[in-house]
Each structure stands twice: as structure tokens, then as C-alpha cells.
């Protein structure tokens, strides 16, 4: 069964450092999502791509976060500089195209900022 791949699974960094997360969606899925999940809360959408275009990045802190999906396949989420409050699980999901299509989630990257 196809899965969404994410790496790394765990990342520990010091504040003010740069970090990057990678996501490889299920093959053929046009829509890719990055979520942030703070401990004890539900996932919050950071950015949504349709192919290589950003559809929604209204909750992305653009002063420090960036996301790209250059060829409309895999994607990278970057934080620079990292802050203590960025400690969270970062989840990637993909779906065929629209909201009515099932979103398949990857295992996530657990970020700890010291």
C-alpha cells in the first residue's frame, strides 16, 4: 500500500538554527498539505499545495517558515530561525485533488527546539 514518506522522523535543534523537513506524497496525488500539531491539540494547516502552486498559506508564519514543491511532487518545509515555540509534530498529507478526497498522512517529524 502506498504511503506518504517523511524525513527525518525526529529532529532536535537549538533555537536560531535552521531546520528542514521533507515529504514525498503518494504517487499521483496532486494536493499536498503541511500541518503542525502541538502536543494536546489537533493538526493545524500550515500550507496547501495544488501541484506546484500554493493554494493556502494563511497560517504559515512567513517571516520564518517557507515551503516549496518545485516539481509538483515532493516538498520541503523549512524553518529559519527556529524558535522554542516551534517544537511540535509536523505532518505531511496528500490527496488526489479536492477536500472530498481522502487525505493520507505521513508519520510526521517530531521537532524539539532547545
Amino acid at each position: 500500500e502506498a504511503e506518504v514518506a517523511q524525513s527525518p522522523r525526529y529532529k532536535i535543534t537549538e533555537k536560531s538554527q535552521a531546520v528542514a523537513f521533507w515529504c514525498d506524497p503518494i504517487s499521483g496525488h496532486a494536493t499536498l498539505y503541511w500541518y503542525r500539531q502541538i502536543l494536546g491539540q489537533g493538526p493545524e494547516l500550515l500550507v496547501q499545495f495544488q501541484d506546484e502552486s500554493v493554494v493556502d498559506d494563511s497560517q504559515l508564519p512567513k517571516d520564518r517558515f517557507s515551503a516549496e514543491r518545485l516539481k509538483g511532487v515532493d516538498s520541503t518545509l523549512k524553518i529559519q530561525p527556529a524558535e522554542l515555540g516551534d517544537s511540535a509534530m509536523y505532518l505531511c498529507a496528500s490527496s488526489s485533488r479536492t477536500l472530498t478526497d481522502t487525505q493520507y498522512f505521513g508519520p510526521g517529524t517530531r521537532l524539539t527546539v532547545l
Binding site: V4, G40, G42, P43, L91, L99, T100, T102, F105, P107
Partner: protein, 113 residues
Amino acid sequence: AQSVTQPDIHITVSEGASLELRCNYSYGATPYLFWYVQSPGQGLQLLLKYFSGDTLVQGIKGFEAEFKRSQSSFNLRKPSVHWSDAAEYFCAGGYSSASKIIFGSGTRLSIRP
């Protein structure tokens, strides 16, 4: 503003007992509603979804949910829980095919032997 509320933070149920997890939504139009499960160290898995039609939705792993417009609810049910059902459950909603999903804060389910 659209929102999804899960009033119960933590629920403990005996193995073999029935389960109901509550979810309330606040949307102007008929929402798209979802239930996801997250086991420790794993990503979220879709249990079921509702878009329109029959208000009783069947999902995987023996779960079902009922959409009640009059109560703005979409509660998840299972007639008999198994120890493997212990996990975090998230209700989520959107209001059109172009909108994003908003997740509730989750309900942690523990199973008593």
C-alpha cells in the same frame, strides 16, 4: 468562524463496552465531516467521512458516525471496543471542496481491561 469542538479530552471505556465520542461543528453550510484516529508514533488515519446523503456513515474498524444537523453534531460510535482502539481521535470539518479541514482538539481514548 468555522470550528469543530470535541468536548471530551479523555475517555476511558471498558473493553467490550460501547463507545461514543462527541463532535460538534459550527458551519453555515452543510459541512464535510471526518473522523481520524492517531495511534502513538503514527500519522492520522481516516475512519470515515460525511459529505451528503445518508446521515449514518459506516467506516473502517467497525466505527460509524451519525450526522445530526439539528444538533450540529457528528458523534463517533462503536458497539464494542477492543484494546487496540486505544488512541487519539480527531473530528474534522470543511465546508466546500476548496476549503481546508479544521481539526478538533482530539479525544484520547483509553481502554480498561
